[in-house]
Symmetry: C2
Subunit: 331 residues, 2 copies
DNA sequence: GTGAAAGCGCTAACAT
DNA sequence: ATGTTAGCGCTTTCAC
């Protein structure tokens, strides 16, 4: 890789001038610029983003960090796509860190990200009380959270009205006549799991139904937890007649259990999941689900971040996007 | 962020010594080391990976690039997870670039990756003739390809026997009595699409069936192409009685079309897809599919890459992993 | 066993 | 309009 020095030599100018044509581009003779451009072309020169980043924290070095809990979850894949969309348009590269719901891994990744001198970070932290992340925020790193925020810390945040989404799902189930509605939740430490629980309870309450705590189970947000918790629920003396699942992966897991037991949906048991998938209509049966606009969440987060990078002072904003219930045939 | 200089000052030594305890760790007085370690702790010091990278190409700076065609495709997500697994274990961070089957985007990403001074790259290039990537390889960047290689260029490559996978699928269909078997392929420029076509043809031939070119359609490897090409096929004067789909996304798209037309699977039409998904048993109907060990592909590629980084000379190796046909109920 | 100093590729004063 | 130079944080000779 040719360096700026070589370009300068070839064009018979100093590195400063080369840097000028590459950046501000003001104040440089047309003829000189042409010569430099020619040298750049000839040497196939590409500026080193690394040197640039090392040199100045002040100037944007075009690197973003993305920290997500589980790349297996299609929801986060979509969020990622949204982010990537805007990153690409602004010439940012992305360091992607998937911590797989593992806090130790998250910690290491946060360190790496910091050590890489990223310009900004989009994160869905494992916990609201993540000290390390909080510190990075207070140290001035531009951060925007998605899906979950940080307690007692002002950060940009984009998410969805989780309580409302759950309410929609459970209320729908009740209106269809289901009486024993279970909730298979994700990790209890994740705020969205708890907001969804609130929506679940509220729907029960508003419809004059009593809350039965044996019907709600928290897991680890992964596929396998859906499989197992659903199995537990079904083997209850008085099993549920409907289940509301806390995310994509759990839904798929629960479906697996239900099918393996030869149960009919919705004849024997109904199901509505949090998180829609475009192929949900090809599931058996077509799945009724609460849809979050995942790609848009990612896009908004990306825009917010890029904006914050250039304006560190702006007050943190919190965007709550709409959810909707997509009714298909599983209820 | 504290710098090495500050640590040195605090410990009353020179940066060289600090660097020593951080790296080789040879030849440094125990008492001095203790003092330095203490200073590091006190300042919460973390070495800058950026400075390290800038300083020496010789020493590993722990950054890997991953270039994939489509993060929406669960196959690549799994490959990515495999890579990430081994990267994490070796303290490498990953710059993830998803070019979405767009060659222009791929080009830009390749430039960025180079400019970031990555230690190595895992790529599934858009084309076998990717000049830019070939150049990076010949310039000495450690590269391992997954899913698709590079023509006339020696690179490590890990993939699957695509021809065999397709053969398995189509032969299975024929043995079940299907007569008009269509193939909805991905992009024709992707080698795997063509190898799968070869397997398709071979199975036909081995079973004494004639090849009908109206039954094979190439698309862009995305979901929508599955939807549309399946629709075209179904509206043929003499529609197929079975379809073999070229990847995950296409399968889901085809399923969507079949369901929307109210057709029964496998009564009206059978389907077997390339690429299995763990939730394929929850599809309607449970899908028969050719399984590639995606996570393992990623893991192997990661190992190969890390190995190559430390030994640039080793002869390129090509790993072909096994595929298997998972029979469920869609045929 | 430890320090001084050069230099990786770049930007940003400051000079001219 | 262009050049000189310091310095970002680190590794690595070469001295001592």
């Amino acid at each position: 890789m040719a360096s700026m020095n070589e370009v300068a030599k070839k064009a018979g100018v100093s590195v400063a001038t080369v840097s000028r044509v590459l950046n501000n581009s003001t104040n440089v003779n047309d003829e000189t610029r042409a010569r430099i451009l020619k040298a750049i072309k000839a040497l196939n020169y590409q500026p080193s983003r690394v040197a640039k980043r090392l040199r100045s924290k002040s100037v944007s070095s075009n690197l973003l960090g993305v920290l997500i809990p589980d790349i297996e979850n299609p929801f986060y894949v979509d969020v990622l796509r949204g982010i990537e969309d805007v990153a690409y348009n602004h010439n940012y590269a992305i360091i992607m860190c998937n911590f797989g719901q593992d806090e130790k891994k998250e910690k290491l990744y946060l360190e790496i990200l910091q050590s890489e001198s990223i310009d900004g970070l989009i994160a869905a932290p494992a916990s609201e009380d993540d000290l390390q992340l909080k510190k990075m925020v207070s140290d001035g790193l531009p951060v925007v959270c998605v899906d979950r925020g940080l307690s007692n810390t002002e950060v940009d945040l984009v998410l969805v009205n989780n309580e409302r989404g759950a309410y929609l799902a459970v209320d729908h189930l009740i209106k269809r006549g289901y009486k024993r509605i279970a909730y298979i939740a994700g990790m209890q430490s994740i705020p969205s799991s708890r907001y969804r629980e609130m929506g679940y309870k509220k729907a029960l309450e508003d419809n004059g139904m009593t809350f039965d705590e044996t019907l709600v189970r928290f897991g680890n947000s992964k596929h396998q937890s859906g499989v197992e918790l659903c199995r537990e629920l079904l083997s209850l003396p008085e099993p549920p007649d409907a289940v509301f699942t806390g995310n994509n992966l759990i839904t798929l897991g629960a479906l697996e259990t239900i099918h393996s037991q030869g149960l009919k949906i919705p004849g024997d048991i109904a199901i509505v999941g949090f998180d829609d998938m475009y192929w949900a209509s090809s599931l058996n049966p077509p799945l009724t689900a609460v849809r979050q606009p995942a790609i848009e969440i990612g896009r908004r987060a990306g825009e917010l971040l890029i904006q914050r990078i250039s304006d560190t002072k702006r007050a943190p904003i919190q965007m709550m996007l709409n959810v909707e219930l997509i009714e298909r045939s599983s209820t």
